[in-house]
Symmetry: C2
Subunit: 170 residues, 2 copies
DNA sequence: ACTGGATTGAAAGTGATTCTCATTTTCGTG
DNA sequence: CACGAAAATGAGAATCACTTTCAATCCAGT
């Protein structure tokens, strides 16, 4: 059956260093706000919204403004360190990017739990379909919505608390 | 290889009748606004935005308000006659729902052309993956973004004009 | 340390969508 | 057909997530 494998290859510190390098490369300045926001982002291995990130950062450094969190998150995206996702709750969520491989999401509609997965067979089929219709794919988005085992079993829904941070390679 | 088949099984008139039936079932009132909006929606076999729908309806009946178009589109969605889609241009688009089968989208990032397709093999794989992770799928979303043959060949991009309204069954 | 351009925060601005509420319309009943 | 309650409408205000503005502040190269 499917095997679950952890795939966080870079440590927080390595990611943070990559961020600092990216700033230098682009001749952008290092500021305490950027550092704090990036650190909190890298420490959080989940699908975090800007709102959530803002609140977390506030606890570390109460002087940061909302706009700066947005700006920094955009910066992280442009540096290839964050990936933006739009699930169906209206707000964008960001996740750490691992150089390795793209993945998709399985979302529990009851408790909000998000499980990541990757499947090569599906990716190959997508390429085939696109090719038949004359397209070359540059990126894709696949989200499966449903109910997780726990929610179906009627046990206490755990308020999206236990978000998975592993990719299941199937 | 893949075969393309037209799948619009209900005529505009049949869809309109279904709408009127749905209103009656829910003891909602028939109004000229609702009728006009629904008629325009059913006549348009593409992925229309509320803005576009509003403009079209205005030409038929200039007294309809923006809010009513939004309300009616929501109603159509609730009646199962319209499906809401969120591609990456910020605004929601609605399409006619055919009872038959769900489909996914292939979107050209250059000209905006949207091609629909359906693929059972992928759907089966999705079910398998979800099952392995303990989920039961209720719905999904799959969008492939890329470049269509025409845009890659460098010919004049046709400003999203020729939107496809056929589902390619692959 | 100096200094000019980058960065920041607060608040105003956006764009899509929803809500409010006074006015109008529909439709079952008399 | 006329009533009248309940529903629907439209104009504009409100909301929500996000971006921009701009004066004040901060960083980094000299």
């Amino acid at each position: 059956m499917g095997s679950s494998t952890a795939v966080s290859h870079r440590t927080q510190a390595q990611r943070f260093a990559a961020f600092k390098d990216a700033l230098r490369e682009r001749s952008l300045k290092s500021t305490s706000q950027r550092d704090d926001i990036a650190r909190v982002f890298f420490a959080n291995d989940q699908h975090i919204s800007v709102e959530e990130l803002y609140r977390e950062v506030k606890r570390v450094n109460p002087r940061v403004g909302y706009a700066t969190v947005y700006r920094t998150v955009r910066l992280l995206r442009e540096c290839g360190l964050a990936a933006e996702r739009h699930f169906h709750d209206g707000e964008a969520r960001f996740e750490n990017v691992e150089e390795e491989h793209h993945h998709d999401h399985l979302i529990c509609e009851r408790c909000g739990r998000i499980v990541e997965f990757a499947n090569d067979a599906i990716e190959r089929l997508q390429e085939q379909i696109a090719a038949r219709l004359g397209f070359v794919i540059t990126r894709h988005k696949m989200e499966l919505y449903g109910l997780c085992a726990e929610c179906r079993s009627g046990r206490t829904p755990h308020a999206a608390a236990k978000r998975e941070s592993r990719v299941s390679r199937t």
